[in-house]
Symmetry: C2
Subunit: 338 residues, 2 copies
């Protein structure tokens, strides 16, 4: 029911995902009459056996205060969806709803993995060349201790390695300068922790301008910095659009070039607007939750569903738990030897 | 002597600025033989009477630790230039050198204005439409208390009003959501302080995607967030370049469109790459210091010199001091009435 367009986007996206993935089964949680109506409108042949509907009329809205939403609405579509993950009835949950409420509901019902203090939101960042890198946290935690940044590095490594099938994901720490004396205390301390950890391929500090250069597979920062970064990058893309639209009104050369450039610009936007890299993982919970952008299109929501499929296939929460316990064991070992 | 190119950029830029501004007098601080040689190569007629050279062979390098640079090099070109501001021999100083060393030297020699805890670096951000907005801090202060963010808002307001001749600069606070409950403690507290202050036209929270939309004349954030933001925005522009270069290698349509688009792209870059908006003010000191980007071109360094001229003309440090004392008096008044 979530997002700006609700079932007008989520239901067609569900059908599209089902037609692409033969073994996929989707549970749609929300207002049954509305969902059925939307399904009837666009249902493809033979898909109905892989769709289950769980009815509830209750929803969390975008403007609900997350804490209030969690307390008052344990019959909302969001709550019921996350509960199904907890009960093992589904392998992952996808929502385009209120991010704060989704985070709180996830933490409340699923709990964080052992060794993880708080979940983080992971955005996929397009690279100049071709490779995608992961940026976390992009909004779950406004203030982060060094320990949390370290945990983000662990979780990001596991996800990058699972998704890209690369053996040793390169992890960078977002900072304002490459020199050792720059940056804040948390970041410097996290760097020391990462350098000392053999299970993580830490490549050092990266700066804002490196983000889209693909120098790292995983870039770690606090949620305030990460959120502003992805939004301001998207803002630059919007400026490009505006300027190009202005260009159209000028000379015939400008108009012609705008016309010719349109496919290139569209490709550009797809590649550099992180908001279109839809499907942000809430990492660190004992279960998979994928957050779709609220204004995602049908194709955008399909991307989010496909991200959920990948994470369910790889059992990402279990992989993170394994890695954390390996690191903890190695640390205990080091302490014991000292 | 500073920056990646030293006098190969700064001397031609100085001559260009002198030819543009008839009442300008420039003091060049650095290695006299080298400067004279460069001047001889490109000196325009009649400019020599407005150039003074102060010789020193000592410089601060880009890799010098700022604190060490300040302690060990009080005969460096940077130190001598800032000292001339202190002595009133010049009205402003422009440097393309080590930012950290320039900040420390500025604070050490000039001191901050009464009521200002620490100086901030201000970047000019291009807007989608046409207006430029100011973003501060972009790197001087990695951690900021609410009081500092408030002071940034005051300083930014004064500068925006002086530069744009607008009576009431709109001030926004960079945050990760517009709702009251989002953001960190410092930001929320700063918002309360700004709302209570009549001398500032506070418009509320702005998000990363608003930065280039010109919704505010001044956007306030801590130096870590600001630095990552301007660098990642510049990174997006680099990605565009790379993709366009790739496009050239493809079909003739791509090649033709790339060719036609080149002027538009160049214009785009000029407008959206904050690194090219050269000449960042170090606000909050008892004197004007302008930091040029280290890799600025001749025209970039001219922009920085022109920014210094504007700030000297407007006596920005004095304007800030006046505004701070007005606000302090109003606060004292409020407290007395309570």
């Amino acid at each position: 029911m979530g997002g700006d367009h609700g079932i007008a986007v989520t239901v067609p996206a569900a059908l599209k995902a089902l037609s692409r993935h033969e073994s996929l089964v989707l549970h749609l949680i929300g207002d049954e009459p509305q969902i059925s109506k939307e399904l009837a409108r666009s249902m493809g042949q033979g898909l109905s056996t892989r769709i289950k509907i769980k009815h509830t009329a209750d929803t969390v809205t975008a403007t609900d205060n997350p804490a209030v939403a969690l307390r008052g609405k344990n019959n909302s579509s969001m709550y019921l969806a996350v509960e199904m993950v907890k009960q093992g009835e589904v392998e992952a949950c996808v929502s385009a709803g209120n991010t704060g409420a989704l985070l709180l509901t996830g933490r409340h019902l699923l709990k964080t993995l052992p060794g993880i203090d708080k979940p983080a939101i992971v955005a996929r960042i397009p690279g100049a060349v071709s490779k995608t890198s992961l940026l976390l946290d992009v909004g779950a935690n406004v203030d982060c201790k060094a320990e949390q940044l370290f945990q983000f590095a662990v979780m990001g490594s596991v996800l990058a390695e699972a998704l890209n099938r690369s053996p040793r994901a390169r992890v960078g720490l977002l900072n304002i300068g490459e020199e050792d004396f720059k940056g804040n205390e948390q970041v410097r301390k996290a760097a020391q922790m990462l350098e000392a950890c053999e299970a993580i391929n830490f490549i050092g500090y990266v700066e804002g301008n490196d983000l889209f250069e693909g120098v790292a597979d995983v870039v770690v920062c606090d949620g305030f910095v990460g959120n502003v970064t992805i939004k301001s990058s998207a803002g630059v893309v919007n400026v490009i659009n505006t300027i190009l639209r202005q260009g159209k009104r000028r000379s015939w050369v400008s108009r012609l070039s705008s016309l010719l450039m349109r496919p290139l610009i569209r490709q550009l936007q797809k590649r550099i607007d992180p908001a279109r890299f839809n499907g942000a993982s809430l990492l660190g919970l004992q279960g998979s939750i994928i957050k779709s952008h609220g204004n995602a299109t049908v194709d955008g929501f399909v991307s989010a569903i496909e991200q959920a499929i990948r994470e369910a296939d790889k059992r990402v929460p279990q992989l993170i738990a394994d890695r954390v316990s390996t690191i903890m064991a190695a640390n205990a070992d080091t302490v014991a030897k000292q």
